[in-house]
């Protein structure tokens, strides 16, 4: 594209340089009053990626291959593949209620597994495609490796249910999975609604004593987990904090959040408002 070589057609913005301070699409320049071609096509590409993240089915075979060595290393039972009541993506998008419940054969599968195990577990980890399969395929393996290592190093022992992978699921489906697996805590790892600049964002939801019918008030959330967002070590640190607090106080959700002042959250330093002259200088 020749936008940069034709300054008389495209007006560039001097303040484009401010993009080092923000991801916002500032200083895009203009052709007349309209978007220059470069900016237009960049936007279209980002939107295409976000839409693909929503509509590309989770490749469960590939994911299973990724999870196999993890399960072996951390001595977990074989991963279970399950499905919500939303039969396809179109139904999933229009019927969030279907995405919150397991279909009959999935529920049966979990009941069968539990009758073999015959004991409660401390934690069930539920991997859900949600609104971005890309978030799962790109983040799950490295994130879980760090999380499971951290759990192994914890002073308390954590008994962990077989990993489950849910297709066409919403956050609340973790409650049913956790309940059927007799888990004291459930951790849902789900593909978040993709943003234009973040098609690969993973969300984490923790619930103590999961059971069908709970609301968001019972959950704690860690959002925007991805390489260009909340990086894995930080996300794992937050997750371990929530897991241990939840376990020791036997609760989750609003009560847990309100009392915790997680020191690693939002450590953003305050920058200056350059639109206002410095107090030491006379105004222009």
């Amino acid at each position: 594209m020749s936008d940069n070589k034709t300054p008389d057609i495209v007006t560039n913005n001097l303040w484009q340089s401010l993009r080092v301070y923000t991801d916002a699409r500032i200083g895009l320049g203009r052709a007349g009053v309209s978007l220059p071609t470069n900016a237009l096509l960049d936007f279209q590409l980002a939107h295409a990626q976000a839409q693909d993240a929503v509509h590309t089915p989770l490749d469960v075979q590939v994911l299973e291959e990724q999870l196999k060595p993890l399960a072996e290393t951390f001595e977990l039972a074989d991963t279970l593949q399950i499905h919500s009541q939303a039969s396809d993506r179109k139904t999933y998008l229009q019927r969030p209620d279907f995405g919150r419940r397991l279909d009959a054969s999935s529920a049966d599968l979990l009941r069968g597994r539990v009758s073999e195990i015959q004991s409660d577990v401390d934690l069930a980890i539920v991997i859900v495609d949600g609104l971005s399969s890309r978030a799962i395929s790109e983040n799950i393996s490295p994130f879980l490796t760090e999380l499971l290592s951290a759990l192994k190093q914890d002073k308390q022992e954590w008994s962990i249910a077989p990993l489950t992978v849910v297709q066409q699921g919403r956050v609340a489906i973790g409650d049913e999975v956790g309940e059927l697996l007799n888990a004291r805590t459930v951790l849902v790892l789900i593909g978040e609604r993709p943003g234009l600049s973040s098609p690969d964002s993973l969300g984490l939801y923790l619930t103590w004593s999961p059971r069908v019918g709970l609301t968001d008030a019972s959950r704690n959330c860690i959002s925007n987990i991805r390489k260009a967002g909340l990086i894995y070590p930080d996300a794992v640190r937050k997750a371990i904090y929530l897991l241990k607090e939840s376990r020791s106080r036997q609760l989750s959700g609003v009560q847990l959040k309100e009392r915790s002042q997680d020191p690693v959250i939002d450590g953003a330093e305050t920058h200056r408002n350059f639109l206002i002259p410095k107090p030491t200088k006379p105004t222009h």
Binding site: Y21, V33, K278
Partner: protein, 478 residues
């Protein structure tokens, strides 16, 4: 239209329609309203939508025969149970209603489109129409009807500038940042101002929603407005109770924000009631910060919020939405914004449903006397794209929409959705010849952001006053 209203043999009021050998019956007025609504996913999710296209068309026939007077005697949500119903009924003005009191819903559509419905006569009946009457007539109107009638409704409000004058289109500059970073927000404000955006309000959705953060952002925007003497107002879109606390702390509050819904239960789930809003309005008025007017409230709405809060009482989402406008008009807002595509495809599935809902909300708000703007937007899991937004933007521009959003490159990096850009507003100015608020337009010319007498041509050179700011940003010691 044929006669379709009957009494059943038990004497219970019922809505029935005979079509050939088939008799359609509807359980009550709310059922007729819901089934007459143009199809949308949220009404299917709620289980209130028509089961077939024919049933929908029949429900529209039945609804067209309902006398407007019926809406005064048949409350869709009981008076005793809901303070929004009480507000609607108690504030209804029978004198204003009298010129149209003999009309059915179908007649009302004809009247609205007729030459008898001038800007003046539409103003004079405003206090005599209820949200339910407006919702009903909307359901039997085509998109072009919604545009034509909205265009005749003139609603002007004012704070530091005058909004809603004929031929004007204003913009909310929305400089959101995922960590509320001051430099990042300032960069987006600069970008917006230099593209001529921000006369409706400079309004930030805070990433961290507490009083201390809201006060920081209020001070930031107030200092910019004062430094550059911009004839506009600022708003932090935090909970009404946070804004009340900020006012008590002496923060520079121009506008009080709140998301509102059309049922008492929706508003309870949002954590406020009508008396909270009254208290906040009084507090903001006491600051006397407006220079040319005293409209101090900024409300946001959107179809689906009542269902989402499980507070819809079996009503369709469009009817719930219009009831929210009764809440809004009680408090003489400067701005009302329907955030039409934000809620997701389970309420409005695709571009077609979003466009229809945007036109409906704008029409209904305007007819009830509100300064109606629209956040023309979509999320990435909706079946919509920039072309759908261009369509709605153009249609609302023709309809005389009071304001739209303005954001760098359509990409809200905090809320993760796409809305209209600074460029989009300029497109509409060029395509339709619309101007910003007059006070703001004069300021843009004075600051040399636009060339004078140019039909909105941006200056190629960076205006001198902003060149200094940019230099400061580049000194690197932010």
């Amino acid at each position: 239209m044929q006669d379709s209203l009957h009494q059943t043999s038990t004497g219970r009021s019922s809505y029935r329609y005979v079509l050939g050998t088939r008799t359609y019956s509807f359980s009550n007025l709310a059922d007729v309203m819901a089934k007459a609504t143009p199809a949308r996913s949220g009404d299917y999710l709620a289980g209130v939508a028509a089961e077939s296209s024919e049933e929908r068309a029949v429900a529209q026939q039945v609804l067209a025969e309902v006398p407007l007077k019926t809406f005064l005697s048949e409350a869709l949500i009981p008076y005793e149970e809901d303070e929004v119903t009480r507000l609607i009924m108690d504030e209804h003005d029978l004198d204003a209603f009298s010129p149209i009191s003999h009309l059915t819903v179908g007649d009302f559509r004809n009247w609205l489109l007729s030459d008898a419905a001038t800007s003046d006569s539409l103003t004079s009946i405003r206090a005599g129409i209820t949200p339910e009457m407006v919702a009903a007539v909307c359901k039997i109107m085509r998109n072009q009807d919604l545009i034509l009638v909205a265009q005749k409704c003139h609603i002007t409000t004012a704070f530091r500038n005058t909004l809603g004058l004929p031929g004007n289109l204003s913009t909310r500059l929305q400089p959101n940042h995922p960590t509320d970073d001051v430099t990042g927000i300032a960069a987006s404000i600069l970008d917006g101002l230099l593209y001529g955006s921000g006369d409706a309000v400079i309004g930030i959705n805070p990433a961290t929603d507490n009083v201390a953060q809201a006060v920081n952002l209020m001070k930031l925007m107030d200092s910019v407005i004062q430094e550059y003497e911009i004839p506009t107002q600022s708003c932090v879109l935090t909970h009404v109770t946070n804004t009340l606390e900020a006012i008590e702390q002496g923060a520079p509050v121009d506008l009080v924000f709140q998301s509102i819904g059309g049922t008492e239960a929706t508003n309870s789930s949002f954590g406020f009631n009508l008396s909270t809003l009254a208290e906040a309005q009084d507090a903001a008025l006491s600051l006397e910060r407006g220079t040319v007017g005293d409209n101090v409230m900024y409300f946001e709405t959107g179809q689906g919020s009542s269902l989402s809060a499980n507070a819809h009482h079996g009503l369709d989402q469009q009817t719930c939405e219009v009831r929210a406008y009764a809440v809004a008009r009680k408090f003489s807002p400067l701005l009302v914004n329907t955030v039409v595509g934000f809620i997701g495809p389970e309420y409005l599935f695709d571009g077609k449903e979003i466009i229809r809902a945007g036109l409906e909300d704008h029409f209904c708000g305007k007819l009830l006397g509100l300064p109606m703007g629209c956040d023309i937007c979509y999320t990435n899991h909706a079946e919509a794209d920039q072309n759908d937004m261009d369509n709605l933007l153009t249609l609302l521009g023709v309809a005389g929409c009071t304001f739209i959003m303005g954001i760098p490159g359509s990409d809200d990096i905090m809320l993760n959705y796409q809305t209209t850009s600074f460029h989009d507003a300029l497109y509409l100015r060029r395509a339709l010849g619309s101007s910003p608020a007059p006070e703001f337009e004069q300021w843009l010319a004075k600051m040399q952001i636009i060339e004078e007498n140019s039909r909105f041509t941006l200056n190629n050179a960076l205006p001198a006053s902003f060149a200094g700011s940019l230099k400061l940003a580049h000194e690197g010691n932010l």
